[in-house]
Symmetry: D2
Subunit: 423 residues, 4 copies
């Protein structure tokens, strides 16, 4: 874009100085800057279709206007993000909100924008108009076999849509659970779910993965069928190699050491993907990295550590944002999120793993900790900006977004009261 170029020009002096400083500092430490930039450029995060509009709580929703009214407009929004940051080249779909009507046309649109379809996400936590059987009391875990069959069929349909768009991942977030003690029989609910997942698994193409997400509460407030990583992992073991655990950062009880869970799952070869977001209390769905950036770094530190370790037999990970933007402009929020992810990934790449291991092996606690703290304290933002700039994106994506009045253009085009499908 012309605008991006112009904007980069304005920022170029300050950016170059900042980049030169950190590049020099890291070169002194032995870092290969060009290789590092290539790694940053290669990192791509999927944008969820449902995060392109204003989210809300059960208490209300305050739309911003200009929200995408259909799948095509959602893809256009992701295209815009990717043009700005060159790091969000795919989109996660939610079925039935994003059922493609013309897959061939969509494929063409995606190709033009340099995008692909990431995962397809099934939805059995709501009843759709005209749906034969209700999910009020569950879907894959429902006591009624016909309701379970309906939910299985929906997931199989999701796979079918995904195949048409070259997706390779089915994400199953199961909202089933109970609100009151006694409501659900825990063991039977587990078994019903396992068997229903097994039927979906049968329909999974060989080159696909099925990601099983866990969440301790909400929308149910006494129990969830898949409340923790242990249960997700149990289902994966039941199903087979193509089933893996998906970690969503906001789906943990207070004080959970998430980085350790990540390390465990990779040690077991069963971490399939990530839902990035920020959380202070629960499934807050805030901007990634906005609340606990150091924990986020520690999580990435585990990811990179395991990805660089040839003894770890974990499949490649699906990197996805899963957020809901109640307050901010959704597109600005996503630009912030992707930037925070890249900055944090960059820091994780900079950890000197040999030195860290040496400190750990000798139980030099202060030295080991300071190795991580030192990298976290570095201001590596210019490295990410440079990687994006070289790839054709903006040094300051949000700056361009604002300067170009993009939200105002979208409102003019789509209306003040447009509502993203599914919201």
């Amino acid at each position: 874009m012309e605008l991006i170029h112009e904007h980069n020009q304005q920022k170029s002096t300050r950016h170059a100085a900042a980049f030169d400083y950190i590049a020099g500092e890291l070169t002194q430490r032995g870092v290969n800057i060009e290789a590092l930039i290539a790694q940053i450029q290669a990192f791509q995060v999927a944008i969820p279709s449902w995060a392109l509009g204003t989210g809300g709580t059960r208490f209300g929703r305050f739309p911003i206007g200009g929200e995408p009214r259909n799948l095509e407009e959602k893809i256009e929004d992701v295209g815009l993000l990717h043009a700005l940051n060159c790091s969000s080249n795919s989109i996660s779909l939610h079925i039935p909100w994003d059922i493609p009507r013309d897959p061939a046309a969509l494929q063409q649109l995606l190709a033009v924008l340099g995008l692909t379809i990431d995962s397809v996400n099934s939805n059995t936590f709501q009843d759709q108009p005209g749906q034969a059987l209700s999910y009020k009391f569950g879907s894959l875990a429902h006591t009624d076999a016909a309701t379970r069959a309906q939910a299985v069929a929906h997931n199989v349909e999701c796979i079918r849509h995904g195949v048409a768009l070259d997706s390779k991942v089915l994400t199953v977030w199961l909202a089933d659970g109970s609100n009151f003690p006694g409501q659900q029989h825990f063991r039977r609910a587990w078994q019903r779910t396992a068997e229903a997942l097994g039927e979906i698994y049968q329909a999974l193409p060989d080159d696909w993965s099925m990601l099983i997400e866990y969440k301790p509460y909400e929308p149910h407030f006494y129990s969830m069928v898949v409340p923790d990583w242990g249960t997700s992992w149990a289902f994966c073991q039941y199903l087979g190699e193509k089933a893996q655990v998906l970690v969503d950062l906001g789906h943990h009880l207070p004080n959970t050491n998430i980085e350790q869970i990540v390390a465990r799952l990779m040690h077991f070869g069963r971490l399939g993907g990530f839902h990035f977001n920020g959380s202070m209390y629960g499934d807050d769905d805030l901007t990634t990295g906005s609340i606990k950036p150091y924990q986020f770094f520690l999580i990435f530190n585990e990811l990179v550590d395991a990805m660089q370790d040839p003894t770890v037999k974990n499949p490649p990970l699906a990197w996805m944002i899963d957020a809901s933007h109640n307050t901010k402009d959704p597109l600005e929020d996503l630009l912030q999120s992707v930037n925070n992810i890249l900055v944090t990934y960059t820091k994780a790449l900079l950890v000197d793993r040999a030195q860290l291991q040496a400190a750990q092996e000798s139980n030099d606690v202060v030295a080991a900790e300071e190795l991580l703290r030192d990298v976290f304290a570095l201001d590596v933002r210019p490295l990410v900006a440079e990687a994006t700039r070289r790839a054709g994106g903006a040094i300051d994506p949000i700056g361009v977004f604002r300067t170009a009045n993009i939200r105002q253009h979208l409102i003019k085009e789509r209306g003040q009261n447009s509502v993203a499908t599914g919201l």
Copy 2:
């Protein structure tokens, strides 16, 4: 009702035996059964208009059908509950969901059903159609003076509606807060809120109370302007004697000792009212007493202890349910809730306070604890059933509700897809 009488007849033998046993046991302990029954009968809990329909989460809502379509039908539903349990003789209104169009006619309807209006509740957490200024970024705490003025005016209007219906209580639950660090200036937000509350307070009739509710998170996920009892209390001190703190059982951080907060506030003479519900994770809005019945008993123990202590200068309390029924029939849920409240209140009345004090003063930990545990272990349900029976209600209210197929009648009358106003 005929039905209630008939039902009570069927249950009478078993009920009488159970009542006789516990009455005999307690008489041996020196309890005056008749006085106890009178106290149980005198205890009345307000039903919130918004809990008469099916609630939901941000993920979905699964209506049950037959929900009240307007304020009159809501009042009829409360009348039904009160006919069954003789313990829910008032209704809390939510403005603008429940703006009375014809107060005189409403008053007549209320009189026929033996009901009164409890508190009026303002709503500045949503934008209403046609509203001039948005509450997206706050109401009483908003940075914009005009928006604050609009929110003040709305609260004053709530008082006006309440006056017309003989309410004496304004409940202010302030959803204002922030989702991200930096978004809101804490000190200025407090001061703006204090001053706006001050304006509302000026409009409060002398015989009214203003209850200030606190909540740590949701709908905002970084900070709330009134997150804890200390902040509510600070506002009350700023405002004056008519302002009091409202405790909602689901509005606390994990592991909070709520009973101690209740005792503190009564010691300071500032506990104004209660929102009963059940909670495992946060503002779950479950059936009162469904998750932590012992903690609920300990809370009531503090309430009764302070109410019986002449040195405590606390105003009479407003007893209200505040719940949201996502899974159960809302009316059944409310019958359960009221019953749990009565049973728990009864137990609290049975605590021997002289003996408890003696054990406490001598630090006989086991004796003090066992005094409470013993009362909690007693099966006092027959006492509550007897109190209700004598007052003309049902020994088993849910049993009558089911036998009489009331939900089916309501669906026939109001339709399968009726939605309660405000939901």
Copy 3:
């Protein structure tokens, strides 16, 4: 004991009336009272040797006097408890605090008192005087092979002591972890631990079980090697059939649904045992059932449900108390704990599982919940008292303990400043 008999005589009238009432009520419901009493009598809970003295926190310890000074006196204390409640016929040992010097003499003492040795518990969370290598930075997970070997040898020695006393269970609570990010490499720590556990497992007799306990934090405050049930279960799968998960009620993050974990583990056939205690914030080690008695009932409900289900292939469970008595007389606390366990177990036995299943299958949430709530509300204490009385124990064990001035006798015998070994 003479005293017990005398005491029971005094209580007999009131007790008989209470028992007759609840027995009659339950008989009407179809319960076989004699069979129920036999089940209650058969339930035995192991007493941990380390709970017989006054516990403490890192801030201080306030001993009560008369604490057992050696293993023999600990066994005598358990004998006393068992004489009073006929339900605590075994003792858990902690090595090296309770190394038996003369196993044959101990066996004789145990036989006289009707006791057995339950589990042996290894201790690698402290350094013992003269110990060659320190556990400051870990034991089975230590980076140093010699330290791991020392910890393995200690566990093998525990097994040896246990074999001499006819124990069949080794409990491994691993305190290893880290206080700071970076200190420990998560994946390598897991692997080292797995291999060290594997060596211990090799030394385990065929008829033994190895129970692996988990705990999210303390004594380390950033990470624990075995923080959650998923990790315990992972180790069990690595080790083999004789390895099972041990659930300690106080070892969970805030708001954890423990009953669901219990159900999961039994469904997988991997729940080996239980550490009973009470908890409000963390590993508080309070009296069992003192804080969340309803959750405790829901946990027992899952245990009984699975134990009664022939399709569940879970080994028999080890029932153990694990508590620390900072405030109460340790023996009174244990009597309370065992009584709470028996009362709760009795209630779980009374749940009508066919009716519950019917309500669950039809998604009648209120009916299912009320089935559990109804049983919980019953006052079944007279059933437990009767079971104990018939077995030769006291209707009111604490009453006898106090009437007989047992603590005073112990202080006279053992001194005011005796300290239980290991405390």
Copy 4:
């Protein structure tokens, strides 16, 4: 010290480059670097005498050797820290652990090392040998008047010791509370405590402050007499102007927004001081800034914001570390903590408050957040190092500590098994 100079020489090139870069960057933003460095140099943090030795948990303690054996050696250790970082010029005392035997000699030692005495801390959470009455069941809240009087007298004695050493602050951390429901009467316990605090307050010199600390749990696990800021504030209001709230970072329930509490208390003019430490689960007493550095920055942001606002009438704050070092060398841990405090304080000083206010007033959420995030992302460590260097301290204090083999020297001098008084 010669060593510091030598060490700084070695580091000078790299340090100068790093300092020049960030100084240049900030100068471009309009920051006055010299003024900033002066502010950093002026910031001094008190070291607690009890953090100079190895801490421990109830499960064990692993001493490092060379720990100070008396108050003089503790002061020497603080002198060493201050020589290295020029930012820890005072020491907090714990009575009776640190009762000065020869105040005049101590004063001289302090003067030589450039130190002062910060606060005196009373201890009524342990029984001392020969103490007349036990604090097992409380001190200022005890039901027994004589025990309360003893605790009051102890606090008055602390003031007396403090006066002799020119301290101006009494810190009261009250461990009183209860382990079981019923044990303590909440309202009476509050009142007894208020009156006992009132007696201590009477003995407080006019130029002193009394800081009242709160803590939700531990050493008691059901209730604490001062569990939250609201209760501390209530006591302060009861007592008078010289009483203020002390915030300890580890004394909050999960997910508490501590920065908001800080802002509240300063708005009310009642924040008296701070206990710095790091926490993941509770009162973990880890290195300050080691777990949630961004939250720590947000807390400092509120502190600086209020300190710079002339409308805020809050007294000067007492900055103190309160930590317990179980794993690291205590002196290294304290050097890390002070450094983290200085780095974070520096960042808070860099926030552009006019711009932040503008973004807040216009509800530009992203802009407001990014202002904070930008400052947090800056690598300001060279500014702190330069401030220390110019003041005569070390660019890398831990580096000097290690190079100089200080721990080995201390062990040689004081022995491998020395134990700091009070630990």
